[in-house]
Structure formats: structure tokens, C-alpha cells
């Protein structure tokens, strides 16, 4: 099953994505981390998320770029939590070696999804602050927006997190099945 979780900064989307992943009950749990570590602020943020995940059974895989290669190294089955698309797009657009960041990210996501049973993806709601004047930022938003739309169309469940509360854009009954612990695991891969 493919699940997309979006939301603003500090909205609780990471926690929601973790809860969904764990409720799917398909071990092992892989946490696919995408952050490039630049400075202390990055390290603090990573520490905070690691503490949040501690004891929940996630094994961390680092994939700031070249997600497809990291995905290929995983044994099949299990549940992967990919956090987050806004990092991946930035890494591919500004630091990667590809001229096609949208395709690179989608290829990576698809490679990961082929290798696991369930994939929960965290993305970011950064689109409601007007159109940025800077062309690079405009391209970045367009890239992330295109990826969100492509994955929104493919996903079985799309949830937006608002002040810790889920707003379900797609797959409402499936979402409630999962969270109520009555989800019958089945194949969703197309």
C-alpha cells in the first residue's frame, strides 16, 4: 500500500506517518532518512526525530540522493517510511547530478515501493505562501508539486496533518481500517 502524508512545519506529520507505518504491522520497519547534514541545527533535528522513533523498531537507511540505489540494497517485504520528499527534491535539484529532479525522485520512490510491502511517504505543504519571485524557488515548488500530484494519484491513502489531526484527502475508509487495527493486509501493488 502507498500512503502519502503532507502538512505544514510542526503539524505532526512525522508522528502521524510513524503511527500509520506501525499500524500496518508489516515488519521490518525501515526509516529512509533523506536529510543532508550541513550543521548543528540539522544534527539537532535528526536527534529529535531519532528520539521520537526510539523503541518503535525502525531501522534507519540514509538516502539523501540516489534513493533507487538505497532501495535496491533493502531486503524485500516490510514497511518503509520515507521522510521527506521536500529534502529529496532539494538534494536532487540543488546538489544532485541529475538534470531531471522530478524523474529522479519518482524513480527512487518507485524502486523503494517495488521492494517493500507498504510505503509511507512524508511530503511538505509549502505552497500557500504566494508564488516566489526567485526562479530557482519557483522551479523547486513546481518540482515538489508535480511529485506530490503524481504520488497523490497513485497513493491508496492521502492524509494532511493539521495541528496533529488527520485530514483525509483520499482513502478514508482504508485509513480508518488501518488506525483501528482492523486492516487486513493485502497486495496493493499495481
Amino acid at each position: 500500500m502507498l500512503i502519502l502524508v503532507t502538512g505544514g512545519a510542526g503539524s505532526g506529520k512525522s508522528l502521524l506517518a510513524e503511527r500509520i507505518s506501525m499500524q500496518l504491522k508489516r515488519m521490518p520497519f525501515w526509516y529512509v532518512a533523506t536529510m543532508q547534514v550541513w550543521d548543528q541545527e540539522c544534527r539537532d533535528r535528526i536527534d529529535r526525530h531519532r528520539r521520537q522513533r526510539a523503541g518503535k523498531g525502525f531501522q534507519t537507511v540514509e538516502a539523501p540522493v540516489h534513493l533507487a540505489e538505497a532501495a535496491a540494497a533493502l531486503p524485500p517485504d516490510g514497511t518503509a517510511l520515507l521522510e521527506c520528499l521536500s529534502n529529496l527534491v532539494a538534494n536532487e535539484q540543488f546538489g544532485g547530478d541529475t538534470g531531471a529532479p522530478v524523474q529522479a525522485v519518482l524513480d527512487g520512490v518507485h524502486a523503494l515501493y517495488r521492494n517493500v510491502r507498504h510505503l509511507v511517504i512524508v511530503t511538505n505543504e509549502v505552497f500557500s505562501d504566494g508564488t516566489p519571485a526567485d526562479p530557482a524557488m519557483q522551479a523547486y515548488l513546481q518540482n515538489l508539486g508535480n511529485i506530490n500530484c503524481a504520488l497523490g494519484a497513485e497513493a491508496d491513502v492521502v492524509a494532511e496533518c493539521c495541528a496533529g489531526l488527520p485530514v483525509i484527502w483520499k482513502g478514508e475508509s482504508l485509513y480508518h481500517e488501518i488506525m483501528a487495527g482492523i486492516f487486513a493486509d493485502r497486495t496493493f501493488h499495481v
Binding site: T6, S128, D129, G130, T131, C149, G152, A153, V158, K170
Partner: protein, 126 residues
């Protein structure tokens, strides 16, 4: 009139075209052409871009739009949500952001249906 709103790059135009069986030839881009050139097109893009020119001319956008809303009773309007960032630096930008918020509220009030689009998916608000 039907209103579709959402943030930048969220797939609003594709959503409108798909759900209302519209094509490129049905589009009128309010950001690219003066309103006087509107010729019956059923899909109005970038409604929020109407606000700034009116403000610059010292006109009230929520008044200026009214006769057009009369004409657009069978149209689908797309507007952008712009109010969820930090407070802009200049007074002009602050005034514009606020005015777009008021403008979108008026559009939503006049619309029969309002849909918000996120990740290419729609949710009916009204």
C-alpha cells in the same frame, strides 16, 4: 460559478480540466490578458492575479470583480491561497496578501461550490 482554490503547484488547473471536461481552449488566463479580452471562456485561471493591478490603480478589488462575477455565473474560477507564510517584509506585499485573502473570501461566498486542491486531489468545502 464554481471556485477551485489551493496553493501553488498543487495541480488545480489539471484538476479543473479533468473534473469539468475542459480543455486549453476553454481557458482564460487573468494573469496574461486584460479582462476586456475575455470571450466566454469557461475556465478562468489566476483569479488572484487580478487583485494587484486594481490595488495599484487605487481601486477596490472586491468591488471591481462584481460585474465580472455576474458574467462568470457558468464559469469555473481558479484562485491561489497565498496567506500561509510569514508576514511579508514590505507594506505593499502585506497589503496585497491581505487583499487576496479578502478577495478569495468574496469569490467563495459567491460560488455555488468551493473545492480545495492538494496533491492534485479535491475536497469540497462548500
Amino acid at each position: 460559478m464554481k471556485l477551485i482554490l489551493g496553493g501553488y503547484a498543487n495541480g488545480r488547473t489539471a484538476y479543473a480540466m479533468q473534473n469539468y471536461q475542459l480543455t486549453e481552449s476553454d481557458c482564460f488566463d487573468a494573469a496574461a490578458e486584460p479582462l476586456a479580452r475575455w470571450n466566454g471562456q469557461r475556465l478562468i485561471l489566476h483569479a488572484e492575479q487580478l487583485v494587484n493591478p486594481w490595488l495599484e490603480q487605487g481601486k477596490e478589488p472586491c468591488t471591481e470583480i462584481l460585474p465580472w462575477l455576474e458574467r462568470w455565473q457558468n464559469a469555473v474560477l481558479i484562485t491561489q491561497e497565498v496567506g500561509c507564510g510569514l508576514v511579508p517584509v514590505t507594506p505593499q506585499q502585506r497589503q496585497l496578501r491581505e487583499a487576496v485573502g479578502h478577495f478569495n473570501r468574496l469569490l467563495a461566498e459567491c460560488a455555488e461550490t468551493v473545492e480545495r486542491v492538494c496533491c492534485g486531489l479535491g475536497m469540497q468545502l462548500k
